[in-house]
């Protein structure tokens, strides 16, 4: 499902090149579950961004569901994300001006052609929110929800489009232990139900152990 070859990412920092990632090679099988672990500043989030096509690598290439991201334009990658990718962020990243239901509907409504959208998006949105236990809070705004509830809305949003790959950036990083566990259980359950490939960045060893595949980053390099 995902192939990364010789990935390298270098940023200019204060006029000097700063290599954040170098020579990363990895493959994730369809319906696989990859955990990226490592200390802060080791390049985990950068790698996730590159795999998801949020940024272009300085060198190397990423193939996502058979498509080489390299030659794709910014808009083409956006479309690819819309069709095949779901996201869960550490800071939830719900759109504060939209209700829970409207947040969930965004990826569906973003589909350019009506034919590509699920039938009756609103019903789909409600079902997803019910599935994450928020069926009664569809019209609440993010500010009216707790952290755990917000992340559950984010989960519902991530699965709205039946993505092939789900990227999660420290999904429990902003939650307390119990809430974090509940969110992870839900994430894994949804993932299994939807047969999605899951790529997850985490500090949480326990969570990492549930993955099929773990890569450890240190100083921008893979240490296996």
């Amino acid at each position: 499902m995902i192939i990364a070859e010789h990935l390298e990412q270098t940023y200019m920092s204060g006029g000097h090149p700063l290599t954040v990632l170098s020579d990363i090679n990895l493959t994730v099988e369809p319906q696989g579950f990859l955990a990226i672990v490592g200390p802060s500043g080791s390049g985990k989030t950068t790698l996730l961004g590159l795999l998801a096509g949020l940024d272009r690598p300085t060198a190397g290439r990423v193939v996502l569901d058979g498509e080489d991201l390299g030659p794709l334009t910014e808009d083409a990658r956006a479309r690819l994300r819309g069709e095949k990718v779901g996201f869960v962020f550490q800071t939830f990243q719900l759109i504060p001006t939209l209700t829970a239901l409207e947040n969930v509907l965004v990826p569906i409504e973003l589909r350019p052609r009506a034919a590509d959208r699920v039938e009756n998006p609103e019903q789909r949105g409600r079902e997803l929110l019910t599935r994450v236990g928020l069926g009664e809070r569809t019209h609440h705004y993010p500010a009216q929800l707790s952290g755990g509830e917000q992340q559950r809305v984010a989960l519902a949003r991530a699965f709205a489009n039946n993505p092939k790959v789900l990227f999660a950036d420290e999904p429990t990083g902003n939650l307390d232990g119990d809430t974090g566990h509940a969110v992870i259980d839900l994430l894994v359950a949804l993932n299994t139900e939807a047969r999605t490939t899951l790529v997850l960045v985490t500090h949480d060893q326990e969570l990492a152990q549930r993955a099929h595949q773990v890569v450890r980053l240190s100083g921008g390099k893979l240490v296996t």
Binding site: L54, D55, A78, R81, G82, E83, Q93, L110, R157
Partner: protein
Amino acid sequence: MNLSFTLAMARREGRSSWRRIGFYMATVTLGVGALVAINSFRADVTAAIHREARTLLGSDLRLSSRRPMPETVQAILDSVAATGSEVSYVTSFSSMALTPSTGRTRLVNVRGLEGGFPFYGEVETDPAGSWSELQSGRRALVDRSVLVYLGARVGDELRIGQARFTIAGTIVRMPGEADISSTIRPRVLIPAEFLAETELLGFGSLVRYRAYLRLADPEEADAFAERHETLLEEAEVGATTVAQRAEDYARSLDIFARFLGLVGLAALLLGGLGVASAVHVFVKRKLETVAVLRCLGATQRTVFAVYLLQAGLMGLGGAAAGVVLGLAVQVLLPGILDDFLPVAVSPTLHPMVALAGLGVGVWVAVIFGLLPLLSVRDVTPLEALRRPFDGPASRWDLRRLAVMGALVATVVALSIAQAPHPWAGVAFAAAAAVTAAILGGMAWALTRATRRFFPRRAPYVVRQGVANLFRPHNQTVAVTLTVGFGVFVLGSMHIVQRNLLERLSLDARPDRPNLVVFDIQQDQRDGVESLIREHGFSAAELTPIVPARVAALNGRPVDELLEDTTGPRPARWALRREYRHTYRDTLVGSEELLAGEWWYEPAAPGALPRISVEEGLAEELGVGLGDAITWDVQGVLIETEITSLRQVSWARFETNFFVVFEPGVLDAAPTVYVTLTRVPGEEERALLQRDLVEAYPNVSALDLSLVQQTLETLIGSIALAIRFMALFSIASGMIVLVGAVATSRYQRVRESVLLKTLGAQARQVRQVLATEYVALGSLAGLTGCILAAVAGWALVTFLFELSFRLPLLQLAGIGLAAAVTTVLVGLVAGRDALRRAPLAVLREIGE
């Protein structure tokens, strides 16, 4: 682009955007309101003038002459009158009016009426009906201002020259004349049959003879004027048709209304700035949302469209409210500009004007919002994972340049459309751009300077306040621009007004004359001089005035010059007018020799008499040094040579002349005299004028204080109208200021709460805020003042051609008021942070 998503997202986001930037759209409302009001009013006035065109002239056709109607013209008038048309005659001249009961005098515009004028429209009088009784005896109708000045009442006696009249009432409204004309030249209407009795129509008096015609077929007026064009021209009789009169009025009122429109446009441009800074802040707050949308698969174009649509919709809302406001103000404008209107204006809805206002409002909101919105394109989806430091870097690509170009074109096009003249529009747009650029530059310089020369040793609160000026999300540019622009607009208007008013006050210094005595006949010279002396004052030397007309230029007769259609021709008015020459052996204070030589040396034997011509007139006549002008002086032809050119400062309260002769040439010609004197007290001036008029009824006196009063009234009325329109700019500026402070309030509140959490007292937080706003307010106020001074100087010097004086104190007052307002608004907006519990504030920020 995904249209349904764009629409749905814009609608949902719009719910909260209204709270954030809807407030700014009130500036668009004010700008559109100002434009719709003034443009609808313009359309109302034009419609009223064309509807009441005949009333404006009071007839179908008007003939006007400086001399009694020549026989050829009178013959036509008689024949017209004999064939079913009506002719009415009005003879007008300036003279002193005296009321024996109070002993007071005033220079008035006397009009002797004969016949049925006005044929169209009604003369309104108080008491009503006095007009129809005017012709029934020695009655006079006067402007109210005449009564007030003379201290007279209806029923009192009024003396004009040797004739005596009873004041029968006051003129409330004359058709075709604006109320302000009664201030400039107060009218006294008398029956024409008593004109001769006044004995004032003799030599030297400037009399205007007019004949008003009501034709049997009103549509014939233009044809009539055309048919007799040559004859009228030869007789030096001017003809004005209804259409011409309406056009003249429409044009001058249009220029005034357009000027007011420019003042209104300033409000809209300020609104544009407000929208731009609001959208700028708005976009910064939306970066995360944009990044998330991009993560979820939205293309750049889709996200951009979501926000552009919101700006457009809010612009539409603001503009629609503006149209409603404009229509409401349109109803008020005739009341405010009443003094200048020759016809009654009834406000009507002009759909095109309203639609144009709506369109302009939306366009301004979109085009000003577009520039900051372009940053949305530069947000990468990666920013959803990592928060950038200070927003995306702006990309200078073709689109950004195109938007900049469209913005500049919009401002220029709007200015040109609104300005009385395309160049005035360009100048206005340039001035606005330069002002905005300088203010923006000053704000930038302030952020650089405070960062570079940071007061490291200052107390903590000062350091914190100063740091606020250059930290990320600072409001330095927004506040400096809006406050500075407001000070600039108000300041420059005030400077121009003060300079116009002070023009005359300057001449009222103790050594300046303040009374002109004119129309003194040759045999009255000694008498007038001794009368002035008897009153204890000294008169300046009497200045002789000799009326003359141009007969030929360099040997070519005027008629030939007028018929010549090849090549550059001397200006018609300059060839045809009656000049009033003088002769003397020196230059006076208001004159400056530009070319040639003054006649300090005796003329060479056999040379032509020498004259000095004012530069502007020389240009109009197309003559220069060495050219010959032949003058018709009361039938005697005198050929002269131009030996010098002068610049004349016409604004000086002195007797100035286009042409000055060397002494000895005109001495024998029929002459009237004028003299200037200084009479300090008002009562003394009144007494002297009374005695002058009683002894020499043909002699007139012009009181400088009266001229000044008239000017003050006139400028005051204009200033009132300008101030009214400027109100829109001020309100707009206030909204932008409050908005700018409010948008950065979240940032400030968060910091203030943090400071409080860390142990800062409310007083210290207040001091931090005060330091920042004092710096911002002072910079904006000071820069605005300097720019206003430069603009005021340019307007006074080049447009009004007056010497410039800077009303420093008042200007500083305006600047200070703006600075204080800034500080107050800043502190009031920050008050929230001091009152509320930290937790509640932090929660609100998190929303």
